[in-house]
């Protein structure tokens, strides 16, 4: 696909083009935190930041999502009427998404859209109608470890366009047909620009200090890791709160509930988290993950063993480092995985 140049003084025109018949979102600074918000001009968006505080997964998998509505009017000959939720009515563009977050969506695609039966139309609808314009990381932070889990600060997986900041301009790489349509009209890049981007990529990779080793995790049997003594120590300080799962771009567990109000009702899907005892509580009163240790182990085993085993080696972690930064008791996923690998 083509390599183009997007000059920094042409950003507004570029963004105007994006907004024309789509909703445009980008990371912005709000109350001292970097979060996602609708933007219309280039100065509203951030172009130099580490990453958003929370992952952008809620664009495709909102924390609270209505799945359908129903009405049960007494004596109504039609009986209960169920109504599907309307699909997304306008396509969307996520601008300046980080490559790690974009890769996370591709991991989640493997889970939400598996085959004819496991085919989450809520997820798919939003995915199909969204274009991802990535912004390569030139300055990864100390908690980033993307390169060690198969991701990259300049990674292109899952993106439609990748922008690389070259100082006075961006190198825009179109990666899909959707991306080509957006940047096709921009001037072509010179050979020097591509070389500079490659240099920046190398420099960014070099800045990733910490990481995880996965070789032994991959070769060990599931039960060997499951029964490893390390979990007794990892779980000790864990609060069993939902912080790590809720900020994680690849955590995707949910709980579906029906809510009623008089004759009206809706089926709603909310984020849930494996750290909660309620998550696995059975109606019988039995809880297969009854102890804190079981629940803490689940999160790491799921990401680094179960998903790779079931999804052809794909790791359920993209190395964004959010859980490392936000965990109230500093359970560092890098340390845990390295202990699993020890």
């Amino acid at each position: 696909m083509s390599q183009k140049i997007l000059a920094k003084n042409k950003l507004d025109a570029f963004l105007q083009g994006l907004c024309r018949d789509q909703d445009l979102f980008a990371p912005v600074m709000k109350d001292g935190k970097v979060g996602w918000a609708p933007v219309a001009t280039a100065d509203q968006a951030l172009w130099d930041f580490s990453n958003t505080e929370m992952s952008p997964k809620d664009f495709f998998f909102p924390q609270t999502e209505c799945m359908m509505r129903f009405k049960n009017v007494q004596g109504d000959p039609q009986g209960m009427i169920m109504q599907a939720e309307p699909a997304l009515n306008r396509p969307r563009v996520l601008l300046n998404i980080r490559p790690c977050d974009a890769k996370a969506f591709q991991v989640l695609d493997l889970i939400f859209v598996q085959d004819e039966m496991t085919n989450d139309l809520y997820w798919r609808d939003k995915r199909e109608k969204t274009t991802l314009i990535g912004l390569a990381c030139n300055d990864p932070c100390p908690t980033c470890f993307c390169t060690t889990v198969g991701s990259n600060p300049h990674g292109t997986t899952g993106l439609d366009v990748l922008l690389v900041d070259l100082g006075d301009k961006f190198l825009a790489q179109a990666l899909t047909a959707k991306g080509e349509a957006l940047v096709g009209d921009l001037p072509a890049a010179a050979g020097g620009d591509e070389a500079k981007a490659a240099e920046l990529k190398k420099a960014a990779e070099g800045k990733i200090s910490g990481g995880v080793a996965m070789d032994k995790v991959n070769s060990r049997e599931v039960m060997e890791l499951y029964d490893a003594p390390l979990w007794d120590r990892v779980m000790e300080s864990c609060l069993n709160c939902g912080t790590c799962t809720f900020c994680c771009p690849t955590c995707h567990c949910f709980d579906i509930q029906d809510e009623t109000q008089g004759q009206d009702g809706r089926r709603v899907r909310n984020w849930d988290y494996c750290m909660s005892w309620l998550f696995t509580m059975h109606g019988t009163g039995h809880n297969p993950r009854g102890t804190k240790k079981d629940r803490v182990r689940q999160r790491f085993m799921h990401k680094f063993k179960y998903i790779p085993v079931k999804r052809g080696g794909e790791i359920g972690c993209v190395g964004c480092g959010r859980c490392v930064r936000l965990c109230p008791v500093n359970i560092d996923v890098r340390q845990v995985v390295n202990d699993m690998n020890a």
Binding site: G32, Q63, L239
Partner: protein, 316 residues
């Protein structure tokens, strides 16, 4: 700081090698700056990892709950008050607990520090007696510790431990001069509609991860009301009514027990100021019943007590 940390390590090593306790619960240095974490030392060697700094923000009293065996806990004022609370609530026996007391220097709010360097990454924070040396990618700055204290540390009234079997370092002054009654004051001046808007504004970022509840040493119910399904008191959605129900009831469940240790605010990944709710209750309990939680072993909790002359103007 380092001198205190060294003494904590020595005390822990001694306790463990003499077999006086099975575990010493303290703080260890985190893998990211400004985030020390609860650490469990079972052997004298492990005690080497213990530390003490301006970022010991978790309340260690939490980890004594339903923990068998004899334990030593590193406790500053608020942690010791929560330990007293737990003893009064019959969660464990005083004899099973060894308190390694420390005067709290006042803990630092990492959000306040980060807010001074918007968009920048802090890589290291070095402790100095009255200052913090903050280093990051391409900058270095010295901050006055008191300017970046957690807000609950500013209004603290009990920096020394209430109970201690061994005091590390000197007994210091009790307060930092702030007044907790002023936390709720700005809201109290508003009319109801504005109060509601303000509260929604405070809670709008809540992601319902329950870190505030789980970090709190008061919240040890086997089943929390938010997890109850029949009836379901509080839905699981992001609807403002659900979020408000959770925060109001959580705060109320801490009435007469909250020691204002600030663990909830420190744990919150979104920086929500839930002390706006709990400080109001703390103030009311003090004004109405003259009670401060966790100050004395054997004290009757105010919510399981009554006096014939309790205020009742609100009752028709």
């Amino acid at each position: 700081m380092e001198a205190i940390a060294q003494k904590i390590r020595e005390a822990a090593k001694r306790l463990l090698s003499e077999g006086k306790v099975d575990v010493v619960i303290g703080y260890a240095k985190g893998t990211v700056p400004m985030r020390e974490y609860p650490y469990f030392a079972y052997t004298p060697e492990e005690a080497e990892n213990l530390t003490w700094s301006s970022f010991c923000c978790n309340n260690l009293a939490l980890y004594t709950i339903r923990r068998p065996g004899r334990m030593a806990v590193v406790a500053q004022g608020c942690v010791s008050r929560n330990l007293v609370n737990l003893i009064n609530e019959n969660q464990f026996k005083r004899d099973d607990l060894y308190v390694i007391g420390v005067n709290s220097p006042g803990m630092v709010d990492r959000r306040k520090v980060q807010a001074l360097f918007p968009g920048k990454t802090i890589t290291e924070v070095i402790e100095e007696p009255e200052h913090l040396l903050v280093k990051g990618q391409g900058f270095e700055e010295r901050l006055e510790r008191k300017k970046v204290f957690r807000s609950n540390c500013l209004t603290c009234v009990q920096r020394n431990p209430v109970i201690s079997d061994e005091m590390i370092g000197e007994v210091g002054p009790e307060g930092h001069g702030g007044n907790i009654d002023k936390v709720a004051a700005p809201w109290e001046k508003l009319v109801p509609a504005e109060r509601w808007t303000e509260m929604q504004e405070t809670l709008k970022d809540c992601i319902r991860c329950y870190a505030c509840r789980d970090a709190c040493p008061l919240c040890y119910c086997h089943v929390c009301f938010v997890d109850e399904a029949q009836p379901q008191w509080c839905g699981k959605t992001q609807d403002e009514a659900d979020v408000a129900t959770f925060h109001i009831l959580r705060a109320f469940h801490c009435a007469g027990r909250c020691t204002d240790c600030g663990a909830c605010e420190s744990a919150c990944p979104q920086g929500i100021k839930m002390r706006r709710l709990t400080s109001k209750i703390e103030k009311d309990i003090r004004a109405l019943y003259g009670y401060r939680p966790g100050m004395e072993i054997g004290a009757q909790p105010p919510m399981s007590l009554f006096k014939p002359n309790d205020p009742q103007d609100f009752i028709k």
